[in-house]
Amino acid sequence: MTASPALPRLARWRVLAELGLRMMLHDKAKLVGTLMGVIFAVVLGVQQLSILFGLLQKNTMFIDNSAADLWIVPPGTTTLQTGGLMSDGVLARARSTEGVALAEPLLFQTATLKKPSGGTEPVTLVGTSLPARLGGPWNFVAGGPEVLEQPDTVVFEDSEREKYGGLDVGSVRELAGQRVRVGGFTWGLLPFGPAYAFTELGHARDLTGVPADKMSFVLVKVRPGQDVDAVKARLAERIPELTVVTRSEYSRSVVITLLKEQLGASFATSTSFGLIIGFVIVALSMFSSVLDNLREFGTLKAIGCTNLDLALLLFCQAALYALAGSLIGLGLVGQMAEGIRGPKLVPIVPPVLLAIVPALMLVVCVVASTLALSRIRKLEPGMVFR
């Protein structure tokens, strides 16, 4: 007697995949418990990541919306903040560099707004050069970029109106000891520090006492058809005492700095925590499910299933847990993100996460199922006769 030729594996595995699904659906308590583990991991992990991405975006949005191809910044600059000033000699050298279409100064200073009821609030005052408006305001909810052409006019953050003492378009307030008129409002331009307030460059210099030949940054647009990296190299050669970076390099540098110095550890901890808790719940649920059905697995071994067959059965269960849990979890995170969404924070769920999360949870669930698999591997088919 000889055993018949081996069956087509795929057909056999299909039977076992169906069996795995049926066993999953039969034990509804375990199904719900395991799914809850995956959903918990997805919700906690993705929600933390979406908040992290939202916070990072708040701190790079100014650079990303500056309309400049290149930034000339003080050496060692890794984030966007008020710092040392550079002289207008830099501006002249930049403007005379081959390939530069536009080089405009930008002033970035902290100023204090006096409230009518007493007390003050800090703002990050941005002085932009007209008419180019590189680094100027965007995302208006009242007024528009043209209001900066009006004298003594400042554009404030809409979500801080109450905090600033009930601002309206046309309100007059004292900023840095001088009267200014509210010309419009932006929405959501809130970095980690004080909200941005925009005005014309000369007005900003008057308010902050910065000399007319000084500036915080120089923003450059390159001529159409020119290679940005080539212009950057020329500028770096002509202005060796400062640093020239592309917009994307500067943005990336802010992200890296924030992740290294402030946000990375805390968000990595909470995201990992979610994954670990989810892993433990899935591992224990699947292990417990195998223990509960040990006799069934023993029977399957006795009637001819191999360890590989049963590993596939567990793999299918793990994959279904991962897929269903990820979809439910991502749906919940989407709802939560909409609920949290506000001017101070817009949680961001990048589309790539929709692919990464199920894949990651698949890995988590499959690894978690190895505990159950190890029990099945040790299972003697002869146990069904005991």
């Binding site: 007697m1 000889t2 055993a3 018949s4 081996a6 069956l7 087509p8 057909a11 056999r12 039977v15 069996l19 049926r22 066993m23 659906l25 039969h26 034990d27 059905n293 006799r295 069934e296 023993g298 029977t299 399957l300 071994k301 006795a302 009637i303 001819g304 299933c305 191999t306 067959d309 003697e380 088919p381 002869g382 069904v384 006769f385 005991r386």
Partner: protein
């Protein structure tokens, strides 16, 4: 060994444990079972009859000795070949029926045939025919939990036969059943196997069904002690 023999066991021993904790479950068993024979293994609890059944069923390795099934020395086979051999050559009936709780009667019976490579439709059709044969044609969609003990054991018999194995091994198939059901289930098993010339080995200590055996082998303390009953098949 003649090709008429379904099972030939020689000098089979099984020792559990090691050192001072050794337990000799089988102490040199020699037994032959002819093709188509309905054999019962009887003996007191702990005598080794289930251990012998497990070794013959290739779910437990003997410590020494040899077992030939239909002429092939299965004790010499690599462990990796045994699952496929069990799937294709041996039908099992367990004391506790051991049906898959999440599958209907039809699906439980069809499972073996599907694992053997039959399509879902064909396996289902064969399962329904077998369930009809064991008197459960109207219960094909019932889950095990919706069946009585006797009905579950009938499903287990149908499952054991679904792969059309030449050898059926049953471990105390009447243990959880009342006298009437136990007798009925054993008669059914004998009838179905006889139709196709299948060899059956039943482990039991239920004297109410002894008369159904072609031959009985009595085991005590890991040894065959005497044939209790012989009947013409």
């Amino acid at each position: 060994m003649t090709t008429e023999q379904a099972i030939r066991a020689r000098g089979v021993t099984k020792v559990f444990g090691a050192g001072g904790l050794e337990y000799h479950a089988l102490r040199g068993i020699d037994v032959d079972v002819a093709r188509g024979e309905f054999l019962m293994l009887a003996g007191p609890s702990g005598s080794g009859k289930t251990t012998l059944l497990s070794i013959v069923g290739c779910v437990l390795a003997a410590t020494s000795g040899s077992v030939h099934l239909f002429g092939e020395d299965v004790t010499a086979l690599a462990p990796s070949r045994l699952p496929d051999l069990r799937l294709r050559r041996i039908g099992f009936i367990f004391q506790g029926h051991n049906l898959i709780a999440s599958l209907s009667a039809r699906e439980n019976v069809a499972l073996v045939a599907r694992m053997q490579g039959f399509g879902k439709q064909e396996a289902g059709r064969r399962a329904e025919a077998l369930l009809d044969r064991v008197g459960l044609g109207d219960k094909v969609d019932n889950l095990p939990a919706q069946l009585s003990g006797g009905q579950r054991q009938r499903v287990a018999i149908a499952r054991a036969l679904a792969g059309e194995p030449p050898l059926v091994l049953a471990d105390e198939p009447t243990a959880a059943l009342d006298a009437q059901s136990g007798l009925g289930v054993t008669e059914l098993l004998r009838e179905l196997c006889r139709e196709h010339g299948r060899t059956v080995v039943v482990v039991t200590h239920d004297s109410r069904i002894f008369h159904l055996a072609d031959r009985m082998v009595h085991i005590e303390d890991g040894r065959i002690v005497e044939p209790l009953l012989e009947q013409a098949s």
